[in-house]
Symmetry: C2
Subunit: 321 residues, 2 copies
């Protein structure tokens, strides 16, 4: 394992040194507290990358779609980093991501970076890990950062929502169709992508999506959410997809909606960091006191509603109100 | 809308007054801070209910299974409360739950309570809402509280993990079979329930589960995780399911594993409450300052890694270390 100092990270990351980038993302998962000053500096360098979120129904071919999107963006000369987020344990996600990382490495393209985040840490740990990894990749100067989620739960929706543009990938013939999807997923879509569009049922799916749009389930704004079609395994439909990404970016830049959206995303980020911070203060380094308090709650000697105040003062967090 | 005072809640909830229970669960979602003293008192009354978590693959028939479990428990003279957790917006979950609530109301059984929690509040809001609702129902003296999750994301797994016994419901013929499930869901199972067990593929599914068990993916302990079969629509297989619930309870009560598990669950609960508490202090009542800070982060005048400390002091939370 190579060791880097903070100074080395600060020098190497903006030069897009892949080993330094990979190392810092890994370190962040374990040494968040110690790395805060470094991350603060990197954050100030960041802010130029365009962040695309990709989520959607299981089996929709999201990974293949993202791979093709990378290919299409590379043709335009853009550098691309992919963060594949899998909230399940490494056991299930490992193999697939391993393949993809090998693939990316095989191309030896210095303008492509693929990384999976599959750790299940503390509460909301994955959201926070994604925020930190995005900061590192943004500071490294990637033009595009694609955040791909494997699942479709609330946590994944929260993660993808922080992107500039959210793609929701669907596939024809899902049985219950659009109704089976969580409404939350429809609401965050800036574009729908019907993948495997050569399958039976693509027209039907498109029709159902239009109905959902007319019902107002889809996000409300003057951005008309497009319904695109791709066949990722053949690389079909990606020119139009990129065209729509560019159009959406222009719309964001020229309307107030983009500002409102960045503001909301930043508020979410701040809340996550605040929650992390308090846990660092109240729990890390006080684990035995914390466990003893939980034990007293368990025995009902104290209730957790009151215990929280105790945790605050034991951590040196004084509340003045 | 009926209004209850804290004193009335304290009097009516232990008498299992359904209107008071329903009202307090609703209030908790919006007035958490004000209700903390009341919840602390109710928590001290609680601790007797047996909490069963039910999760599993979409379309596995979880709701029907839970309904039948309620019927089976009622036959044994047990009172049962059901919390159906749907992290998606009310749009998708509303109708189904509406039906079930009507059904429960139609039976006019004072020993059955059905409630959905579908609110998408702040971070981890649903976990916290479930904890609070469980406290209310436990204080109300229900023998069993069934927490049923509609989804299968990380948040749902975290919620179900707080139960005494976790049932993971599967259905034959899911295509990719067990591999398609998140490993996290297999790890929390105290019992697998193959529902729709009259379908083709039930034997195959059972075999796959045994393989997963032999691979050590399933929870490690001296509790042998049983694989049960039900046909919920016909009420078949519930005697054995209840038998296993009782066996698992006995195992928990007689081994150290039960204590370890309650301790871990309580630690999770305390962390959630701590996170809520800090947001109350730092954000609620300071919304405009909070938004202004997020805005400065957005413009990169300050970085969120440093901004968190500012939030703490502006909220009167002084850190002494």
């Amino acid at each position: 394992m190579i060791h880097f100092t903070s100074e080395q990270f600060l020098e190497l990351i903006p030069k897009r040194d892949m080993r330094a980038i990979a190392r810092l993302i890994t370190l962040q998962e374990n040494k968040r507290k110690e790395l805060r000053p470094l991350m603060a500096q990197l954050y100030r360098m960041a802010g130029k990358a365009r962040i695309i979120g990709v989520t959607g129904s299981p089996g929709a071919g999201k990974s293949t779609m993202v791979d093709q999107l990378v290919v299409a963006l590379r043709k335009l000369g853009k550098s691309v980093a992919v963060l594949a987020i899998d909230p399940s344990s490494p056991f299930s996600g490992g193999a697939v991501l391993g393949d993809r990382i090998r693939m990316a490495t095989a191309t030896e393209d210095p303008d492509v970076f693929v990384r999976s985040l599959a750790t299940r840490g503390a509460l909301g740990g994955l959201s926070r890990a994604t925020i930190d990894a995005t900061t590192v990749l943004d500071a490294a100067g990637f033009d595009y950062i694609i955040i791909e989620t494997v699942g479709v739960g609330q946590q994944e929706i929260d993660i993808v929502r922080t992107a500039h543009t959210c793609l929701v990938v669907l596939v024809p013939g899902m049985g219950d169709g659009v109704q089976a999807l969580k409404a939350g997923i429809l609401e965050i879509a800036d574009a729908f992508v019907i993948n495997k569009a050569d399958r039976d049922g693509a027209d039907q799916l498109q029709k159902e999506l239009r109905v959902m749009q007319s019902l107002g389930v889809v996000s409300e704004s003057d951005w008309q959410v497009p319904i695109l079609r791709t066949i990722a395994t053949e690389g079909t439909g990606f020119d139009e997809l990129i065209e729509q990404l560019v159009l959406h970016q222009k719309w964001l830049d020229s309307s107030n909606a983009g500002v409102v959206r960045r503001q909301r995303a930043m508020e979410g980020t701040l809340l996550r960091m605040l929650q992390d911070f308090v846990i660092e203060r109240a729990v890390d380094g006080h684990v035995s006191e914390f466990q003893a308090l939980a034990n007293r709650c368990m025995k009902r000697e104290v209730d957790p509603y009151s215990a929280v105040g105790e945790l605050f003062s034991s951590a040196g967090l004084v509340t003045h109100k």
